[in-house]
């Protein structure tokens, strides 16, 4: 597949010659050969590879279609739909800036997300657990839920000493909201029987929260963490509108200002990979923590 895609890239002429076509074809060929080597290798086949096989087969087809529709025939119009080699060109030519942006974004994102997740979790537990907290916090969540991040900017500006902390606040807020909602709904829907048993055995409320409500709600909490991570990426663009010097959201906006779609897509791809990596981490943690679920639910 990859080899075919590589050959397609290399030998089917394009509408306009683009500088990175050769490189793209070369990379595709290389991946194809690498996969072939690994697949045919005498040593034991990697499980991951086998699991990914259908995606590995589908991706080059996608590339071929993309190339076909853009550079090879011009079916899709520029500038909205740049050819894959144009996006690749951004990576080869602009990688330093992209890497810097990605790093800057991560440095902004991770503390914000961590704070948001921690606070969201605590708040969610409190809301799910305590009727009083629920009474006061639920209407607030209801009112606050729909407010766009930009609406918070003035307040964030005023309340925080530095732009950095203001940006962190925005990210924490965006990621904390889904964590809080899902934690609270998880805690609130723990089977009553578990509480009965633990209370009977002498559990105080602290124990009930920590050892009953929270573990039982964890599957839901992880969904919240996942959605919060997504939300934190989305709000990155807003958070990076205010006074940063590098960052993916910033890069994205800048590229949009120049209608540089190849750069936009490159930044989005980096974002998607970063996000996917973080999600992968999160899922790995979840799969460990929630191993007990395996035998109970469908998978």
């Amino acid at each position: 597949m990859w080899i075919g895609a590589g050959l397609f890239a290399l030998y089917v002429p394009g509408v306009t010659p683009l500088p990175r076509t050769g490189l793209l074809g070369g990379i595709e060929l290389a991946i194809g050969i690498a996969i072939a080597v690994v697949a045919l290798a005498p040593w034991r086949r990697s499980e991951g590879l086998e699991q990914a096989d259908r995606w590995l087969a589908a991706l080059p087809i996608g590339f071929v279609i993309w190339q076909y529709a853009t550079n090879k025939t011009g079916l899709l119009p520029l500038p909205f739909f740049p050819a894959p080699e144009s996006v690749l060109e951004v990576f080869t030519d602009d990688w330093a800036k992209l890497a810097e942006s990605a790093l800057a974004s991560l440095v902004l994102l991770i503390p914000g997300y961590a704070i948001g997740a921690a606070l969201g979790f605590s708040l969610g537990v409190a809301i799910g657990w305590s009727r009083a907290v629920h009474y006061w916090a639920h209407p607030i969540l209801r009112f606050v839920g729909p407010l766009p991040a930009t609406a918070w900017l003035p307040i964030a500006f005023f309340c925080f000493p530095s732009t950095r902390s203001a940006s962190t606040f925005l990210i924490a807020l965006a990621s904390g909201f889904p964590v809080a909602v899902l934690t609270s709904s998880g805690v609130a829907s723990v089977a009553r029987a578990y509480y009965d048993i633990a209370r009977n055995l002498g559990a105080d409320p602290r124990f009930l929260v920590r050892k009953v409500a929270v573990p039982a709600a964890l599957p839901s909490v992880f969904v919240g963490l996942f959605m919060g991570l997504g939300a934190s990426f989305v709000v990155l663009v807003t958070a990076e509108m205010i006074g940063v010097k590098a960052g993916l959201g910033f890069y994205l906006q800048w590229a949009q200002g120049w209608a540089a779609y190849a750069n936009i897509y490159a930044a989005l791809i980096v974002m998607a990979f970063l996000f996917s990596g973080l999600i992968g981490l999160l899922f790995a943690v979840r799969d460990r923590v929630l191993a007990w679920q395996k035998g109970i639910v469908r998978w």
Partner: protein, 262 residues
Amino acid sequence: MVSATLDNETRPGLSVQISRVSHAYRTGAEPVDVIDNVTFGVDPGEFVALLGPSGCGKSTLLRLVAGLDQPSEGKVGTDMVRVTGPDPARLLVFQDPTLFPWRTVRQNIALGLEARGVAGDHRAATDEALALVGLEAFADALPHELSGGMAQRAALARVLINHPRLLLLDEPFGKLDALTRMTLQGELLRLWQQGGFTTMLVTHDVEEALLLAQRVIVFGPRPASVVFEAEVDLPYPRHRDDPGFIALRRDILIALGHGEEL
């Protein structure tokens, strides 16, 4: 080793006072009356068996004594103190095992020790409890890997490890084969004789009630009210072919509406 934990611990059993208790559930449109003006007492250290038709309100009564629910009317007390909430001195083995699915069997059994903040390593205590119910080999299994009977035994161990002063058992041996059941009945009897705790046992097995209890109380159909009560004045260990045993069995079966079978 053994004596330090499950055995030999003699704290006096709690007495139980149930006076004019009525209870109704109000979840649906109309309230469901479940217990109707029940009054009886249990002496400290006594072993009482409760019998009654399915759905008559036995489990509900145990929940009231455990303090998990409050009766609609009347008073439930232990040692002359009104029961207002759960207390680890009064422990209920629920009809459904309901183990915590995210904890291993051992961790489930250690739940009460953890909940009460009992310090130290619970390994010895849990090992002993596991051995008592014959689950040594499944200490690290998760609940969904247990069979029905094994889960029931784990639930029993989860309570016994805590030395309650009042033990409330809701059909604890219902899913066990005859041999396992007999072994556990024997163990329960031994612990009760040594530990001096009060026991209230809900069971559907009349012979089980007669083999274990000092007194048998039979409820009528819902809403539960006491329809029969008898002292079982037989020495332990008891035998099924003892004439007193057989006579009591007949009386109870009749009280349960079971005439023709005899």
